[in-house]
């Protein structure tokens, strides 16, 4: 409760202020809907929005899971040798710089309308921070500890599993935190073109001048992003709390 109250206060204040500004005619309601109208849209279109939310959540989660697995695997390969890193890292950066909105139509050509395109979009947008952070983590292993493992004859695999990977965990989780938000964005953008889920709701409501419904869908999308972010924070707290300063809850 103590943690919930501080962010709740500005939320209530802004909501009330917005409601008042729209009702008094200060803000035209075809541009900004009153919070009460957004709530009504949420209730009226609950079946449609719930179904869209499920689709978007599934696509964002699958895309995020894929970029976590492939991102970490790519980082492990890149970290294994400087030559491999020099040759392939620039192509990993490609994912960071590619304007997803521009290649989304291409994804439709490749994967067709629907889920696959949306997942691909979420994946492309969210993989780079996983690769970059994991790689930084894997490359910054304490040299003394690497010497220690070498002294006791540990193989490269054992060193990876028992030393480099756990040591990189805080950075990996940072990457996942960034990627979780991006996966939701990627899914919504994919849905603009791929045609399903919350992205599609936004797109359709926009053409109907239903700003209240646009806001309702955007609200749900950010709830999804927050939930994913919260999930990573929970995992982070559970795995790091005993040893890393960022999660220290020592007595």
């Amino acid at each position: 409760m103590k943690k919930l109250l501080p962010p709740l206060i500005p939320f209530v204040v802004i909501t009330l202020a917005l409601e008042w500004m729209v009702r008094s005619g200060f803000l035209p309601r075809y541009l900004v809907p009153a919070p009460s109208a957004v709530l009504r849209a949420l209730v009226d279109s609950r079946d449609e929005l719930a179904a869209a939310m499920v689709k978007t959540s599934a696509a964002a989660l699958i895309g995020f899971a894929l970029s976590t697995l492939t991102g970490v695997a790519i980082a492990v390969i890149l970290s294994s040798s400087r030559a491999i890193q020099r040759s392939f890292y620039p192509y990993a950066v490609f994912f960071q710089t590619v304007p997803i909105i521009a290649i989304a139509p291409l994804l439709v050509i490749w994967f067709g309308y629907g889920m696959k395109t949306v997942i691909a979009s979420a994946f492309i947008v969210s993989i780079f921070p996983v690769i970059a952070n994991t790689l930084t983590g894997l490359l910054s292993t304490d040299p003394a500890l690497r010497d220690l493992f070498q002294l006791y004859g540990a193989s490269a695999t054992v060193t990876l599993v028992k030393l480099r990977f756990p040591a990189a965990l805080p950075q990996i989780l940072t990457g996942l935190r960034v990627a979780s938000g991006l996966a939701v964005i990627g899914a919504i953008v994919g849905e603009f073109i791929g045609g399903q889920g919350l992205g599609s709701v936004v797109d359709v409501a926009r053409t109907q001048q239903r700003v209240d419904k646009v806001f309702a869908a955007v609200l749900l999308a950010s709830v999804l992003g927050l939930a994913l972010f919260g999930l990573i924070n929970l995992i982070s707290a559970l795995t790091l709390r005993r040893w890393h300063a960022s999660e220290a809850t020592m007595e």
């Binding site: 500890l145 220690l148 028992k162 040893w243």
Partner: protein, 221 residues
Amino acid sequence: MDLSIEAGEFLAVLGPSGCGKSTLLRMIARLSVTNGGRIVTEPEQFQTAFVFQDAHLLPWRTVLDNAALPLELMGAGREERYTKARAMLAQVGLAEAETRYPAQLSGGMRMRVSLARALVTEPRLLLMDEPFAALDEITRFHLEVQLRDLWQRRGMTVIFVTHSISEAAFLANRAVVMTRRRGGIKLDRRIDLPAQRTNDLRSDARLGHEMRLLMGAMEEE
């Protein structure tokens, strides 16, 4: 440099910063390759342990799992590693702390875990690179007495790099002062002090005499 070290010796290596003390240790541990020279050991293969300037523990592992790490890497079974690690932790006075994590320990306790980790394999040779440099003086005094005690009981060879003259004189049976120019030896001295070293010795005139000799060699550099 030409240096021959007897088995069971406690050798302190002194010298100005950058003279190659740490490099020497790393080469003996076969963590660095020698540049032109040769290091011959008898027997050729034996268990070596290394203690670094800081404790360098794995922060995600408990004290017990840290102390057992070398045995784990060498493929020892669970039973054996924990029995040996527990025994070693008891010897450094950390039996009570085995379920704690490094972040919950003081600097001195962490260094003792590091020492237990080094000794858990019962090494024939223990290489130490300024292990107590980051500790406060009282903790350091305490650990020095403890190390000396462990050495007497176990009879391994210790090569101890330090730039503390008092530490070298207090701990070692033989002290070597290296020259600033890489690889030379300025002084090679057998430390003439009783085998049993306690904190009382710290104010003893004989220790003062040994320290003056070592300091003279250091200053000429």
